[in-house]
């Protein structure tokens, strides 16, 4: 892929839906289960990833003409690790209770395949503005996935949202247990596949009517 021909808006939408990190590409799955037992944790994780992804894309795009292709992998790793340390320390300072729960997973953003992949396939070959748009789109896509998963898990598992009780009665405790995370992601993935297949079938039907 040389320079992209997509507009910035198309790039953002691409990251949000058609190449959604969790549901479509199925990479960077660890946090999708680990931190989604409450909406708050999912929210903070999503925001951190938007920040890191955008800044990494921006930085890599800025220095793309100075990187020797042979040592690009360590350079990308250092850029990513730098921003992750930044967010790790700020979170430890300003959001202590959340950090206690998800700190380890924030540090592990370094090993996210999705962030590295966008630097490798996109930012290193494109100008700054499209790279920012791409990073933003990918980050928001991840953020949305986090919100959707944690919304269902907290609502079903604790009968609460963002810590506030919403539903009375016995919640399905299993949804906040580790196993529930796997179930939630599996079911949501299946649902999105079903939705995709349905929409494709509709589009085909519409095209068939037009040609007829």
């Amino acid at each position: 892929m040389a320079h992209t021909h997509k507009t910035n808006w198309e790039l953002i939408k691409n990251g949000m839906f058609s190449e959604n990190t969790i549901f479509k590409m199925a990479i960077s799955l660890c946090p999708s289960i680990a931190v989604t037992n409450s909406l708050k944790n999912g929210f903070f994780m999503g925001v951190s990833v938007i920040f890191v992804q955008t800044m990494v894309n921006l930085t890599v795009s800025l220095i793309r003409n100075f990187i020797n292709p042979k040592i690009r992998i360590p350079i990308f790793m250092m850029v990513i690790a730098g921003y992750v340390s930044l967010i790790d320390m700020s979170m430890a300072a300003f959001a202590r209770p959340v950090y206690k729960q998800i700190g380890l997973y924030i540090q592990l953003i370094v090993a996210f395949a999705s962030i590295f992949a966008r630097a490798e396939v996109f930012a290193v070959k494109n100008k700054i503005i499209p790279s920012i748009a791409d990073g933003l789109g990918m980050g928001i896509g991840f953020f949305l996935a986090m919100i959707v998963i944690s919304f269902f898990r907290e609502l079903l598992g604790k009968g609460a949202l963002w810590g506030f009780p919403i539903v009375q009665g016995n919640p399905l405790l299993i949804m906040v247990l580790p196993a529930g995370g796997f179930f939630a992601v599996g079911l949501l993935m299946g649902f999105f596949n079903w939705l995709d297949a349905r929409m494709a079938a509709k589009r085909e039907a519409a095209a068939a009517i037009e040609t007829a």
């Binding site: 660890c30 790790d88 529930g180 649902f191 596949n193 297949a197």
Partner: protein, 195 residues
């Protein structure tokens, strides 16, 4: 040296706090290589070996370089750098010494850098202040736990190929649900021993 504690650490890291089923790390690789038994066995062997070496190396660097120089806040950057260098050199050495083994396991080596467990273990080791042998034991336990998870999952997924699954759930979604069921079984290990 307290062998009792070491044994407990190994059991705890592999069964009770199994990285895949209770901490959800290494999922990308977990779902990526478990389609076939052969690839999961290859990955398990390579991963456990690299894990132990990396745990030991990172412990030495943390204890004797980073703590005396008071630069522990750089640990994320240093650990990932050490792991990348280790994997790269293991790749080169293996290619030179044993081409046959490299041909079999080389591809898994490249994948290991993207496995979060390999970074999580040194981070936890330094956070919990484990000594050298405890760090090694934790590394061994994590490697074994990951291997166990891969092999269980691969044997189930090979059977799943023949099952009649609703179309939208084929592939990854059903694997997630299977993993959920295994995780449920693994919660039975909690309380086996207490550290």
């Amino acid at each position: 040296m307290d062998f009792n504690k070491l044994f407990q650490l190994i059991v705890a890291a592999s069964l009770i706090n199994n990285f895949v089923f209770t901490r959800f790390l290494g999922l990308c690789i977990f779902f990526g290589v478990t389609k076939k038994m052969e690839t999961s066995v290859g990955m398990s062997i390579t991963f456990t070996a690299v894990m132990v070496i990396s745990a030991a190396l990172n412990w030495v660097i943390y204890k004797f370089i980073m703590v005396p120089m008071d630069i522990t806040f750089l640990k994320i950057i240093v650990f990932i750098g050490v792991i990348a260098a280790l994997v790269q050199s293991a790749d080169t050495i293996m290619k030179k010494l044993s081409p046959a083994l490299y041909y079999k396991l080389g591809i898994y080596l490249a994948l290991i850098t993207t496995n979060c467990i390999i970074l999580a273990v040194p981070l936890i080791n330094s956070g919990e202040n484990y000594n050298f042998f405890e760090s090694m034991a934790f590394g061994v336990g994590s490697g074994l736990g990951f291997a166990l998870a891969l092999i269980i999952m691969a044997s189930i997924r090979e059977k799943l190929e023949l099952a009649d699954i609703p179309a939208p759930f084929r592939g990854l979604p059903i694997s997630f649900i299977v993993a959920g069921l295994i995780a449920l079984a693994f919660t039975g290990f909690s309380g086996l021993i207490t550290l």
